[in-house]
């Protein structure tokens, strides 16, 4: 069992593109974990999808062997953290497995909101933070300015900020020395009952669920009978090991150590991130703090374009859930779209990833309804229901009030954009919290904003209004009553449930008008006039008519070429097939996308 004084557990906190993966590669290389020849770029990002998006969804933990200049040997456990705001909970669990964090900031870009949020998360968790400026080799680097900014934000001496280039390797030795010197070793008692924190898990086709954990007290040995305290699962420790980053099974993991555990379980849902593992035969009395059930924040209906694919969609969702415990779904039927599933996601990125995987990996053609947040409706009798779909909202008669989820939104922007960013937040019903200057050039704004307002394209708007310099982070901040209404769309006098949305009353008219207008452009002319109406209850608030088409015939000289005409018609027919019949009306797929793009501003 290694001496805890020779262990350092740490994460790297960085914004996308600030060089986290490059630094991880460099650390692996310098500590001999892999030879440069073996090194693929960005080892820690394993999924193709993550690679394409340049983000890391699933954390991983790598054990590095470091020999200090004085000859002492240390175990450095590098624990990766997800890089997106949808996965804040996972980040917090990864950080809980560490004593320290390397805060990596791009020398040209400076501190970003998300980095800052995670840095605060680390500091609040009692972690020692080593601030590091990366990419000092770049011509655009401004290490002085960025060092001052970091010092101001963290309340540290600018001289304590390290300067490195992960790309060239400059300063990496100094960083390794700082990890050993500045970060505290883990505390823990091998004689205590076992407590180990599950901070991540993933699904492996051959091995089933692999969980990453950090032993706090006690010893976790191969073959031990284990209990997962939150879920109550009793499972054996089939295999325990560490990643070098190659898998190396070990006999046991002691206090302060980080490694993996395989139990033979095939469903990720049975093992929860944040859970505490103990021994069944000598259980701990108390769970480690901070466990939370994964809670979906955004809901959307997913329907197969071809009704025959319903079972295929169910299977695909079940398989995705194997390695995505945060994904929830239940069957839903829509008058317009037939049978599908109402799915819950951690956030928009999560939703997009799931949808893309369904279409790419499972070859499904899907229609997604507009995402909706989880409202709460209080009925007149005082009972409360969760509203995951606009259809769940009771009629105004039976309704006392509707509560909507609010988020605490943190934005960092160059000072020149303060006005426009405040306008943006105002338009999205944001309520100002605090404003803090990080430096003379950059400011942090904290607002309270309804989640529904940031679900639709908010991030893109922020980026465009700040010419790409604004950054954003957010976290749940409770529920509050709001003046909300369901706007329904009637096509040819028949309500189309897939087009309904819950909208703030101040924005309902504008929303209805714009959606009806857009649908009027998208829906092709049919054999008859098609009225498109927006309504709140029985009140029509907007109306357009798609006039019946009058001419749809080739009235020209064919010159005997029947084949070409038929091929043209067949091509048009294929386009027709991709349309969805809503009652008597043919609606192209893009109509459903249009709903996502309507913003009442």
């Amino acid at each position: 069992m290694p001496d805890t004084s020779r262990i350092r557990n740490f994460s790297i906190i960085a914004h996308i593109d600030h060089g986290k993966s490059t630094l991880a590669d460099r650390l692996l290389e310098r500590t001999g974990a892999i030879t440069p020849r073996e090194m693929r770029e960005q080892v820690l990002d394993s999924m193709d999808l993550e690679r394409e998006r340049g983000i890391t969804i699933k954390a991983a933990a790598v054990r590095l062997r470091h020999i200090a200049p004085d000859g002492d040997e240390y175990i450095l456990n590098l624990i990766d953290t997800p890089g997106h705001v949808d996965f804040t909970y996972e980040v917090s669990r990864s950080l809980a497995a560490c004593e320290g964090a390397v805060l990596l900031v791009d020398a040209a870009q400076g501190v970003e909101a998300q980095t800052l949020a995670n840095a605060y998360l680390a500091i609040d968790g009692g972690l020692e933070v080593i601030p590091v400026i990366n990419k000092v080799d770049l011509p655009a680097a401004e290490p002085e300015r960025v060092a001052d900014e970091i010092a101001a934000v963290l309340g540290v001496d600018p001289s304590s900020v390290l300067r490195i280039s992960a790309k060239t390797g400059e300063g990496v030795e100094e960083l390794l020395a700082a990890i050993v010197d500045r970060l505290p070793p883990p505390k823990g008692d091998a004689s205590e009952p076992l407590t180990a924190l599950v901070f991540d898990s993933y699904y492996d086709t051959y091995r089933g669920v692999v969980c990453y954990l950090r032993v706090v007290d006690g010893i976790l040995g191969t073959g031990d009978p284990l209990r997962f305290m939150a879920t109550g699962e009793n499972l054996p420790a089939d295999e325990v090991g560490v990643l070098h980053p190659k898998v190396v099974p070990v006999a046991a993991l002691g206090p302060g150590e980080v490694g993996y555990l395989i139990t033979g379980v095939k469903e990720v849902g049975r093992i929860r991130v944040g859970d505490t593992v103990t021994r069944r035969d000598r259980p701990a009395q108390k769970m480690l703090p901070g466990y939370r059930e994964p809670k979906p924040m955004v809901f959307s209906g997913l329907f197969p374009t071809d009704g025959d694919d319903f079972e295929g969609l169910r299977e695909a969702l079940e398989r995705l859930r194997l390695n995505d415990a945060a994904l929830v779904f239940e069957p839903e039927s829509s008058r317009a779209l037939g049978f599908g599933f109402r799915c819950g996601f951690l956030g928009l990125l999560h939703m997009e990833i799931v949808r893309e995987r369904l279409e790419r990996e499972y070859d499904l053609d899907l229609v997604a309804t507009a995402p909706s947040v989880a409202y709460r409706a209080v009925r007149s009798d005082g009972s409360e229901i969760e509203v995951r779909s606009p259809q769940d909202l009771p009629d105004s008669g039976g309704l006392r009030r509707v509560l909507e989820p609010f988020f605490r939104v943190m934005i960092i922007t160059p000072t020149e954009f303060i006005g426009t960013v405040m306008d943006l937040l105002q338009e999205h019903r944001g309520v100002m919290g605090t404003m803090q200057y990080l430096s003379p050039e950059r400011v942090e704004l904290v607002y309270r904003v309804p989640l529904a307002e940031i679900v639709f394209g908010f991030f893109d708007q922020l980026k465009s209004r700040t010419r790409g310099y604004g950054s954003l982070d957010y976290e749940p901040d409770g529920y509050d009553a709001s003046d909300l209404a369901r706007v329904d769309i009637l096509l040819n006098a028949v309500p189309v449930d897939a087009f309904s949305a819950i909208v703030h009353k101040d924005k309902a008219y504008e929303y209805g008008r714009r959606l009806v207008e857009r649908l009027g452009e998208i829906i092709p002319r049919q054999l008859f006039d098609v009225p498109i109406q927006a309504a709140i209850g029985s009140r029509i608030i907007a109306r357009e008519t798609v006039k019946a088409k009058r001419k749809d015939v080739t009235a020209k000289c064919y010159g005997g070429d029947i084949t070409r005409k038929r091929k043209l018609l067949e091509k048009q027919k294929e386009g027709k097939k991709r349309m969805k019949m809503l009652g008597q009306v043919e609606v192209p797929q893009e109509a459903f996308v249009a709903v996502l793009q309507i913003d009442a501003d």
């Binding site: 054999l527 088409k549 001419k551 020209k556 010159g559 005997g560 029947i562």
Partner: protein
């Protein structure tokens, strides 16, 4: 009442003629030469290349001499283009003689020729009649100088009127082609064109909607932002010609074709009846023994290959595909088509019932007719979407 919504009884004579045409055989001869190519035209045509005329005519005759015989002589010959009147009438006569020699001409065969008004002087008309042509189709397109200019035509309204007079005195059957819906064409201009054509006493009228084809100068202009024909405008103009033609005693027997009794274009009828026709010349399409095939489009390649075979592609549909084609083609006629398997499947299908409910198609006895011809492609697409198992 709008004409496109009128439910018309099918005239019995028309039905007999329409169905009889399935047994006819025809020949199409392509003359690709034009003095100027019209900006909307996407046929296999050339401007200039006069040095290729003699070799082309030789190649045409060689191709005709190689053609397998039908079981009966030709009921219809159609010489189209391009501009057939850009070629000497004597040369066109040699082509007709070659067809007679190889495939035979029925005693009552329709021998039709396309002509541009600026070419058809009384002398030329008489010369063409001498060569055996008994029907002429004049590319008048419009009587509005502004529209004619927009269409890139070389004649003016007076030339068109004179050519019609010349044609009527030389040929027993005269057709005029008109194009409607050119951007900038006023409704009154179109009405005037229709009335002048009908007023001149022509026996047959083809009214085509200006259609933007990719790769043509018009197609490129529209892509670059020039105004495109407006389908609603074209629909209104279609209604105008349908009414005016009926008033002048010309029945609409196909989507775009109107004829006095006895003047229906036989070549046209056999095409829509899924009849067989041979075809000669570059880019020409034929239909023989259940196979559609077509020649190379390029003039020089055609001349090179005509001694051997100029065919560049073919298509043979499976039995269901042919049945669908039979109904789709037949539905372009006012007489409609015997429903058969594909028509039956159409009437049974939910999509077909929608079309019935919307008054786009109707069932008359064992036939189906398109009662709103302006929506004909909607019907054709629905037919093509049917599966053999649907019936």
């Amino acid at each position: 009442m709008r004409t496109d919504q009128m439910r018309t009884e099918v005239p019995a004579g028309d039905v007999l003629l329409a169905d009889a045409a399935a047994a006819w055989v025809g020949a199409y001869v392509h003359i690709p030469f034009c003095r100027r190519v019209c900006p909307y035209c996407d046929f296999a045509v050339v401007e200039g290349q006069d040095d290729l005329r003699s070799p082309y005519l030789a190649a045409l005759i060689a191709e005709i001499q190689r053609e397998p015989r039908f079981t009966r002589p030709l009921d219809a010959v159609f010489v189209g283009g391009g501009t057939p009147t850009a070629v000497d009438p004597v040369d066109l006569g040699r082509v007709i003689a070659a067809l007679d020699d190889r495939l035979g001409l029925a005693p009552d065969a329709e021998i039709s020729l396309e002509a541009n008004p600026e070419d058809l002087t009384p002398r030329v008309a008489a010369a063409l009649a001498d060569q055996g042509f008994n029907r002429i189709s004049l590319g008048v397109q419009s009587f509005d100088p502004v529209v004619l200019q927009a269409l890139g035509r070389r004649h003016d309204p007076d030339m068109a009127a004179e050519a019609i007079v010349a044609a009527l005195s030389a040929f027993p059957s005269v057709n005029v082609d008109l194009i409607f819906g050119t951007p900038g064409e006023a409704v009154s201009s179109w009405r005037d064109s229709v009335e002048r054509a009908l007023g001149a006493g022509v026996h047959h009228l083809s009214a085509y909607a200006l259609t933007v084809e990719r790769g043509t100068p018009l197609g490129r202009a529209v892509q670059a932002g020039a105004p495109a024909p407006d389908p609603d405008d074209q629909a209104a103009k279609y209604d105008i010609v349908v009414k005016a033609a009926a008033a002048a005693g010309l029945d609409r027997y196909e989507t775009s074709n109107f004829a006095m009794p006895g003047h229906h274009c036989r070549h046209n009828l056999l095409t829509w009846a899924q009849g067989e026709y041979a075809a000669f010349g570059n880019g020409a399409h034929r239909h023989r023994a259940g196979t559609r095939s077509w020649n190379v489009r390029r003039l020089d390649r055609y001349v090179e290959r005509a001694a051997d075979s100029a065919v560049s592609g073919d298509e043979t549909l499976d039995p269901w595909g042919r049945e669908v084609e039979r109904v789709a083609l037949g539905l372009r006629r006012a007489a409609g088509v015997v429903a058969g398997r594909a028509g039956g499947a159409l009437l049974e299908s939910p999509e077909g019932r929608r079309l019935l409910d919307a008054g786009v198609i109707g069932a008359v006895g064992d036939r189906i007719v398109v009662t709103r011809p302006l929506l004909g492609d909607e019907v054709a697409r629905t037919l093509l979407a049917l599966q053999p198992g649907d019936c």
